[in-house]
Symmetry: C2
Subunit: 146 residues, 2 copies
DNA sequence: CTTGAAGCTATGGTCGCTAGAGAGATTAGG
DNA sequence: CCTAATCTCTCTAGCGACCATAGCTTCAAG
């Protein structure tokens, strides 16, 4: 049996995150030791690894919840899991496209920077006046910093 | 003079967002009409457009705060603004790289999905066992869904 | 002068955690 | 066996960057 710390280490998930997952119902309530500490077995480790991996792949916790409920019920058709992954793929592709547009814009700003004073800094100027952008694209809808 | 609604429309920013920006000190406190409504002039519009544009380009509000304080001081050298933009560019490039890795992984998962039942669905299986991933890369650090 | 849209403040919710306080449990070394 | 160090426990609060709602007041058009 693993304590929460060992579990976290093995799955690559921080301890408070595990407790958070339990709190929101992604992980079942753990067994407890005599001294009230959580104890986990192989099943919990696998489930947590699943969650961790899916998070790494960009799935939301909501999508992961869906995937887990599918895998808890393994005789259902696979189409649902496939659809979730497909949606996720489309989302990632669109994010890549938006980020690439932003990258081009930023590069253009930087190339034009003459390293003088703020007064004639292209970075500030371009940010202040959208019409100075290279293309007439509207920038992405809120591809905000993380 | 513009009311907050007109300002929001012209700058492409929602009304509660403008009030939020004022609250966190990104916009100065607005003048008020006799009936206590906010009134804005050209300066405020320009400042808000600057913020909006920088947000579109993925700058955090913290970075925008720095850029704004630079632009309030136009005789300084431009290097600081350049550095902020350069950091932003690096961040975006790293996110693109991570997302591209995730995309490849998801595509691989989908190709392998046998469209049978969950029992032999690769989507679930791959998510449950990282070692089944095509390459041995660790996935990105938390490139979470939006 | 009335009505409906737009404004006001204040509070609370979202997502996916992360941090901290203060107390109790467990383990390793002496 | 005792102590010290390291977990672990619960609970609350906070992050960024907003959005939504409630219950008001103000304003502009007809």
């Amino acid at each position: 049996m693993l304590t929460i710390g060992k579990l976290g280490t093995q799955a690559g998930v921080k301890v408070p995150t595990i407790r958070y997952y339990e709190q929101i119902g992604l992980l079942p309530e753990a067994e407890r030791s005599a001294g009230n500490q959580r104890l986990y077995g192989r099943r919990a480790l696998e489930r947590l690894a699943f969650i961790r991996h899916a998070r790494d792949l960009g799935f939301s916790l909501g999508a992961i919840r869906d995937l887990l409920s599918l895998s808890d019920d393994p005789d259902q058709p696979c189409a649902a899991a496939d659809a979730i992954a497909r949606t996720q793929l489309a989302e990632i592709e669109s994010r890549i496209a938006r980020l690439t547009a932003l990258k081009v814009e930023l590069q253009r700003m930087l190339v034009q920077c003459a390293h003088g004073t703020i007064a004639d800094c292209r970075v500030i100027e371009v940010l202040g006046d959208h019409s100075l952008c290279s293309t007439d694209h509207r920038h992405a809808e809120s591809e905000a910093a993380p």
